[in-house]
């Protein structure tokens, strides 16, 4: 049983999280195509910061992990470590075909798999690379699901 005050607090937290999610971006082996599009969402044309979405440098301050690329042998442990460093509750958005299935890199010896193989993923954004609009849409979908 949650006390009424806890219920209110939870509502406040969700409200804060949904209105200003902080994200961290990690590239686990991508071709950078997805990464430049993620960066583009921060720049004047798209400017997600005006919606309160902020890209953070440290996983310890982030609510959302935005991942790109297939996961390489060397990046796997780092990806897991970054995921573990994030405070609960945490959410993962996998951007790009590579993050969904390994994309064109499927079967290369340096690739262990897609992001879903390594950490739990909440939202997948398809495309190679997805347009900045699609990436924003993906994050919005995540936020919507948090609200309900």
């Amino acid at each position: 049983m949650t006390s009424p005050i806890e219920g209110v607090m939870d509502k406040v937290k969700t409200w804060a999280r949904v209105n200003s999610p902080w994200a961290i971006h990690f590239n686990s082996g991508s071709c950078n195509g997805c990464d430049i599009e993620i960066l583009a969402t921060l720049t004047p044309r798209y400017d997600v910061e005006r919606f309160g979405i902020k890209l953070q440098g440290s996983p310890r301050h982030a609510d959302v992990l935005i991942c790109t690329g297939p996961v390489t042998l060397q990046a796997r442990d780092r990806l897991v470590r970054i995921y573990e460093q994030m405070p609960e509750p945490k959410f993962v958005v996998a951007v790009g075909s590579c993050g969904i299935s390994g994309g064109v890199f499927q079967g290369c010896y340096g690739v262990v798999g897609d992001i879903g193989d390594v950490i739990p993923v909440n939202v997948y954004v398809p495309g190679c690379p997805p347009r900045p609009e699609a990436i924003i849409y993906g994050v919005v979908q995540l936020l919507k699901s948090l609200q309900s």
Binding site: Q74, Y109, G110
Partner: protein, 164 residues
């Protein structure tokens, strides 16, 4: 200087170590040399100076056996490795080629005469298992630390890591 002259100049520079030459494309000449002469040949090209080292390519030439169905299989541990030192000079590419047997894949490093070679050599060392004698660093460059020793991904016999 036109392409032919430029290529001829390179061919002349390394003439004393050359075993044979080949002209695969209009703007390319390949010169086959013995592995022990690589340092001398590279130094002669750099001192001339003739172009710059563009890349070092490794190529695996395993021996194959053919089964009854006509399918080719790689015979493990039998074969040779080839190293190609590509030098670019303007429009032309001059390549020094040398062949190393699997059981003695050792060649002198050229890092001490060309600093640019270091990353190329370390890459070939890791991916093909070629030992560059005297190389300043033999640490892993591109493969993870826990990559099994003696497994060289760009050899034809490599078909993937065993799932552990």
């Amino acid at each position: 200087m036109d392409m032919e002259q430029k290529l001829q100049a390179a061919t002349d520079i390394v003439k004393e170590w050359t075993i044979s030459t080949n002209n695969p494309e209009a703007n390319r000449v390949d010169a086959v040399i013995a592995p022990e002469n690589v340092k001398k040949a590279v130094a002669a090209l750099l001192d001339a100076p003739w172009g710059y080292l563009s890349a070092i390519t490794g190529v695996d030439h395993p021996e194959y056996s053919t089964d009854e169905a006509g399918v080719k299989h790689v015979i493990p541990d039998k074969g040779t490795l080839e190293l190609l030192y590509h030098f670019s000079g303007g429009a032309v590419v001059f390549t020094l080629r040398l062949t190393l047997p699997y059981d003695h894949a050792v060649v002198d490093t050229i890092c001490d005469i060309d600093m640019a070679a270091q990353l190329y050599e370390r890459e070939a060392a890791e991916l093909f298992g070629i030992d560059f004698a005297g190389a300043p660093s033999k640490e892993h460059l591109v493969l993870p630390e826990d990559w099994p020793a003696g497994v060289y991904p760009l050899r034809k016999a490599f078909t993937g890591l065993k799932q552990s």
